[in-house]
Symmetry: C2
């Protein structure tokens, strides 16, 4: 990442739209861009139980616009897309377990919603850059780690399936209409500003809450399953690079720390940082076994090479910073 | 294809649902299966300007049930799916040019509609076999002919994109829920019972109408673009095999004649058969250039090997039979 003086030059005065902008990733991007002088508009639908939280953007609330609407609302999106130069399209149904219960809602938000935004971009802001946050879950059962972009895509949940369908939309709008789309497939993000009310996603955050409440952290199986946890600040830097680098256009990037950590080790780091909580090993629930992907580690060769991006925050350091954040602002995230 | 005595044993008394069953492919399957003793129910939404036509099933109308509804109608589909053993899911928005104008309608029918049917199958008829009619257009620009199943999939229209997304749905329901899904990617079908009111699809049929009216058949460019035209009877046989062969389950098959014909040669065959009409060469319209795939010939190695299927009707013979059909029944298809 080049120094901030360079980034100010790039983003100062830029008209930016961030959908899902009150969630963890969106708000973190909004804060950074607002401080760099960008004209940031946030769209958020505030659908419960997703992560929208006004507190997330408290520090910059006078510098940005907030528009409550839904990416499935064609007229609203049409108005908001006009004149924008960069769009971070982060809105979404975010629980892969919920998608098993309601595949229609998932398809509606995570596929038709993206079609709505892309169609509006093509008609009303065809020169905008638009970045899509896909998921490592699009790969399904992992056949080989580390996972590069050309690993087979065989989703195990409607969530992952719709993310894949949406990814194909982004590639299509680039291929046929020359829209400057960029696709990310993100590993497990964590950090400040994630919702902390339930365990449906952002598992590191959820464990931090359990530890802070001195509760039992349940680990499925032996806890040896490997995950790639990416800290929010590193992820934000990747999004920023993708929003202006020429090399990003029309490309798919796997985004993660590039480091694998066992689930049990992650839990131990949480307990060590918080100095409370304890671990209990329990059998895998059936509905989790069916959608378990196996060990996951991101191959970050491509994004490193093409965008010059390098993640900098270790899991240990990231957990400590996340804990400090919620220790201070706990009341804004649960109770 | 084994002899019909064998097929009677297989299909006699079988409960079959055919969505889009009043169109060319659906009605042709319905006629064949009704004659083999199957209990056939047709679903059709009669959306204009697609191919639904009561005349198509005239010969078997007392042997089958017809239910007017839409694959997006969850309650109706739920009722109709229950107790069915084989489902030919052929309903769809069928014009790739129209999909450029209205990608939302296309996504709604060609993606959410298929989700509706698959979700109903999983809940109410999990042991049913279900066959999906995808399109050769899913491949987009052709890089290598003949085209095998592993050719890259880079759609050029929302129609093709949604067919690809739907294909992934079928593979997903097989992978995760063990539903017996089969995917076809079909080349250019033609033959009796296709709609003849407009040129949006089934181009061979349209040319036959133009010739029968002694009109000018316009060919874009030099007419050397190669296509794979598959006659309806051969296609019906492929669908029947896919509906009972074990080897078909969870598989994707490219379906075509395996033979490439130049566009101009196809037009000449039409004129020769009809003994009227004439050809005029015109420049490519811009909106066609952008979605032109290049030459297409199906590699039918896989379906031949796995299902023992072989196409038998040449383009010449097929055009002659199609012409004979419309010569006799013209009044039911246009005017």
């Amino acid at each position: 990442m080049r120094r901030s003086i360079g980034l100010s030059k790039i983003f100062n005065g830029k008209k930016v739209l961030i959908t899902g902008g009150l969630g963890m990733i969106g708000s973190s991007i909004a804060i950074k861009l607002a401080k760099l002088g960008a004209e940031v508009t946030i769209v958020d639908s505030f659908i419960s139980p997703y992560g929208a939280n006004y507190f997330n953007i408290r520090d910059v609330k006078n510098k940005i616009k907030i528009n409550i609407s839904d990416i499935r609302d064609r007229e609203s999106i049409k108005c908001l897309i006009k004149d924008k130069e960069i769009i971070f399209n982060l809105a979404g149904q975010v629980s892969h377990n919920d998608s098993l219960e309601n595949p229609f809602l998932d398809a509606d938000i995570n596929y038709i919603g993206h079609l709505t935004v892309l169609d509006a971009v093509m008609h009303y802001s065809p020169h905008a850059r638009i970045i899509f946050s896909g998921s490592r879950l699009q790969f399904g059962r992992i056949k080989k780690i580390p996972v590069s972009e050309d690993h087979p895509l065989q989703p195990l949940t409607p969530y992952a399936l719709n993310k894949l369908a949406a990814e194909n939309l982004y590639l299509f709008y680039h291929r046929v209409y020359n829209i400057a789309t960029v696709v990310f497939r993100i590993a497990n993000p964590f950090g400040p500003r994630a919702q902390m009310r339930h365990s449906k996603y952002a598992i590191v955050n959820w464990f931090i809450r359990l530890a802070m409440e001195d509760k039992i952290i349940k680990i499925f199986g032996d806890g040896n399953q490997v995950r790639d946890y990416i800290y929010i600040d590193d992820l934000v830097n990747a999004f920023l690079l993708a929003s202006f680098k020429q090399e990003a256009i029309g490309q798919v990037f796997n985004v993660g720390s590039g480091v694998g950590n066992k689930f049990r080790d992650m839990a131990h780091l949480v307990i060590t940082a918080v100095r409370k909580g304890k671990i209990e090993f329990v059998p895998w629930p059936t509905n989790y076994v069916n959608v378990e992907t196996g060990d996951y580690v991101t191959d970050i060769t491509k994004i490193r090479r093409e965008l010059g991006w390098t993640p900098k925050i270790s899991l240990k350091k990231g957990i400590e910073m996340t804990y400090q954040f919620y220790k201070e602002y706990k009341r804004f995230y649960w109770d």
